[in-house]
Homo-oligomer: 232 residues x 2
């Protein structure tokens, strides 16, 4: 591949030397450039990881605004934009959500596993450690779709698409995220955060500086997931 012979510096020069052309026209309404983009888009897509433990470093409002501003550019059926992004920064609220997750998990365990007192104690310690990591980020965003949106039958596409955009945008600012579904249960989220029934939760994600970036999980070779012309 041509690009393999080019250094990072050459690539950047190449980028700088080219005119933006029609893309610039399409970008008229965009905000200003990202300030932390050390990686190009293909690299960002590869570098996003599911991060489950964070440093307490704050996420400036400016970054969050630009991340959500990009998330809302996801494909959406007939431009309906059925999304709501519920931002949780209040540490008390985050801890309340954590406590409810721990309780939910322990209740399930006690009801279903008939454990001894000792087992309950051990389990509680493990579950608490698990959720201490998961709730260590300074910000959480609940991605929701509105069941009363214009083309609500397409919300099951639009929801994950915007969530994916959000994770990618956050990664481009150097933040880790993770697309939580059952680890932070839907019902618990809705109850603690008083989310009205008209909204469907797509996922909940933390945004923060990772304690460390996890390694890339093994991925299937392309030959295994790409079919040319015919699929069997």
């Amino acid at each position: 591949m041509e690009s393999k012979q080019k250094s990072r510096r050459d690539i950047i020069k190449l980028g700088a030397g080219l005119t933006l052309g029609s893309a610039a026209v399409a970008c008229q309404k965009m905000p200003s450039f990202s300030i932390n983009s050390k990686l190009d888009t293909i690299e960002i897509l590869h570098a996003r990881r599911s991060v489950r433990k964070f440093k307490p470093t704050p996420v400036p409002e400016e970054h969050l605004t630009r991340i959500l501003g990009a998330a809302r550019m996801a494909p959406t059926a007939g431009n309906q934009q059925p999304w709501k992004f519920l931002v949780i920064r209040d540490k008390n609220k985050i801890n309340e959500l954590k406590a409810a997750c721990i309780k939910n998990s322990m209740d399930w365990y006690k009801e279903n596993q008939n454990p001894t007192e000792e087992q309950v104690k051990e389990r509680h310690s493990g579950v608490t450690e698990y959720y201490n990591g998961r709730f260590s980020a300074p910000v959480f965003v609940v991605v929701l779709t509105d069941n009363e949106s214009q083309n609500a039958g397409y919300n099951h596409h639009d929801g994950p698409l915007a969530a994916g955009y959000l994770l990618i945008a956050a990664r481009s600012f150097g933040y880790g995220t993770v697309y939580y579904t059952d680890s932070i249960p839907d019902a618990v989220t809705k109850q603690v955060l008083n989310i009205p029934d008209r909204y469907t939760r797509v996922c909940i994600t933390p945004i923060g500086v990772p304690e460390q970036w996890p390694e890339t999980p093994d991925k299937k070779p392309l030959e295994e997931i790409v079919a040319y012309g015919v699929i069997s």
Copy 2:
């Protein structure tokens, strides 16, 4: 915002001067750099448009490989990677899909609208023009999920996430795409392309150089879709 005072050249210099740090570690398994990245990731997310008419310019296999290689890095439940990307480059097959879409649309019209012969003729002309545009790209990718995947209950998340990644990756190479669902009906796609029942179609997208980049559709202001702490 700090970045507003910086020119594009400054931003590129800034990018070049910084070390990759932990992100580089996370990127070890990545392919080489993208050769067409004139825009950073936030810009790419804003610049992706739904494109429905294309130039005949070919899409090199190298680009397609890198686009699909990035698509497969989407979040996926328990790293199950339930995706299949069915690539259609054969012009005859693309035309067969087009003809089937036209027939499907005309059949529906005749069965449901009780039209005159003149109306049928006019409709056929309109529908043909519509699909001539939609099938003008040199490549189509059908994004599928495998109903027999490891965590198939999460495929409704994983499917749109990978499709979104694909569209973003394609945009970073300067290609237009569009997340088609009902414009190119599921049943028609599956029949013409002989897609086995074990796969669920997420969407089908063309990949190609746009005839022109559409303008950005009006987007809701962030205040309307972001809620802080409380949602009503």
